[in-house]
Subunit: 335 residues, 2 copies
């Protein structure tokens, strides 16, 4: 089995889309073949610009992502789309209509579209998304759009895996925007009010500006200082409008995404994020290796027994985990 | 410092709310005192019914949670509310108006309200939420309402920490509901269309019924079979209406939540979920112990050096993590 992995890796590196799809499945499912491929590919990663596109259901993210992909293709950029959103038309809950509208992307060799299975990721969906993005990065997609749903705390983990986070809002949420302030500031590098063809978009835009402390006199393209983290101190969050259906605002959004990448590289924040991603990768693999090692050295039943004891409240998880680690170290000392 | 922990634990167990608040901060921040308290309290956990309340921003979750809490109080039930949602009025992005509306809950000794800080959780927000819920469980709250935002894949991790997941929808999402099908089925045990005072609620309700394959002739209180997982095979997802502002539908929602708990216990699914939660707790603590142990045995720089090498692509994270583990085992063998 492991003998076939290099072939797949080489084929995927050579542009074989079917090999790439199979490789991504192996990686997503956490197989040994997938791990071997990740190991081989990792030195080639770190160049892609990973852009998270997030927002509430109904904001029109999927259509916007499709149109944005076309805009980047017009600019000659190759890109991958990863849909982590279970409501995405690319994924399980597919709408035939949307699929048809995306057909030109599906047949474009410069675009690779991948839906994440919505369950069955041994290390969690965020870690699996990271692995998938690493493979797409390694095989040479310089831009990866990761579409997720939601705008709250639970998104932060996936957002942490992106260099740039685009928050998509839709008209009609005026009253709620003030409450969203904390969430917005936490994750967004760029905010776009989609469905700008709707007359209510103007109100939503004003609410967001007010929520971010943007003075109206700053004009349509002024920007608010980001409170995201120290590294983002020099970036003012652009607040844009788009109408994916009317093809409006797409060039401005693509410009803002490219400007954010340039800002990250100029300010040194790009390296900070690479460091954070490297740490996330190391910690994820420490956990996977440790669980495998416990199985191998202590027998398959040891972890199960600890879980059972915790379930029955005969043991607390802090002691149970400590005992497992101690047993592993003792077994090693006796070898 | 550690000598004071039992005092706080005892005070919190005795009903001292200030001690409980301080204990929760220690646990949330991952301090040694917090770990010691969790260890002491764990045997008392496992009895509380943990209910996740989730939905898109603007669905009126916070008001609904407040009204639902009052309904349970009328039934004589003590409960805790944990707000993981950064848009919640309980948390950082607080709306004064909502706080005032909640004032009676804030002064009710039978209700404990806790906002999770939106950052700074060493093991991730899901693990921190789990720790906080364990403490509230141990000190004797039989019902814990965990409010989170969003309805997509990223919610699944927090949803996995709950016994019952209530998905709150709002009117005006008719067109999008079909696309939401996959997400809905994945996480919801109960669906409630809030803001039922809005005339559009009827359309939203019909769309959800259609999306879940519910025949209209099944009537208002028919239910759709859940596709969530095997264990839920015997549970039909109730689709309810509520108007938190008009105090409508709250008793029905509380009934559905109690019915779901009864179903879980009757079917054996309660024990399955206890097992899943025990496993999550053990794995979270394995990771925390391992990182501390690596620091202690290999020196503080060892993990940093590995992260640096991965960041520079001199090493892949699979090899880096494996090397760290090997070094730890070797150091142990030489002791």
């Amino acid at each position: 089995m492991s003998g076939t992995a290099p072939t797949f890796v080489e084929a995927a590196l050579g542009g074989d889309r079917r090999a790439l799809a199979r490789l991504l499945s192996a990686v997503e499912n956490g197989t040994a073949e997938g791990a071997e491929a990740l190991r081989a590919l990792y030195p080639r990663t770190g160049e892609a610009h990973i852009v998270g596109i997030t927002g509430a259901p109904g904001a029109g993210k999927s259509t916007l992502v499709g149109k944005l992909a076309r805009e980047f293709r017009r600019r000659g950029k190759r890109l991958a789309i990863v849909a982590v959103d279970p409501t995405s038309p690319y994924s399980g809950g597919a709408l035939l209509g949307d699929r048809l509208r995306m057909r030109d992307l599906l047949t474009d060799d410069g675009v690779f579209i991948r839906s994440m299975a919505s369950r069955g990721h041994p290390g969690g969906v965020a870690a699996a998304t990271r692995d998938v993005a690493n493979v797409l990065d390694a095989v040479g997609y310089p831009l990866i759009l990761v579409e997720t749903v939601g705008a709250g705390q639970a998104q932060v983990e996936i957002a942490r895996l992106a260099h740039t986070v685009v928050l998509v809002e839709a008209p009609g949420m005026g009253d709620e925007i003030q409450a969203l302030k904390a969430g917005l500031m936490e994750i967004a590098d760029i905010i776009v009010v989609n469905k700008a063809d709707n007359p209510a978009a103007r109100i939503t835009l004003q609410s967001i500006r007010a929520a971010l402390g943007r003075d109206r006199s700053a004009g349509h393209h002024g920007a608010a200082p980001s409170a995201k983290d120290e590294e983002a101190a020099g970036w003012d969050i652009p607040i844009l409008q788009s109408s994916a259906i009317e093809n409006r605002g797409l060039a401005e959004l693509a410009d803002a995404i490219e400007a954010h990448r340039a800002y990250l590289q100029r300010s040194g924040a790009w390296e900070n994020r690479r460091r954070r991603l490297a740490r996330a990768d190391v910690e994820a693999w420490l956990q996977r290796h440790l669980l495998a090692l416990l199985e191998r050295r202590l027998g398959g039943g040891a972890v199960e027994e600890a879980v059972e004891a915790v379930q029955r409240r005969r043991l607390d998880p802090i002691t149970a985990a400590g005992t497992l680690l101690d047993a592993l170290l003792r077994a090693e000392g006796e070898r």
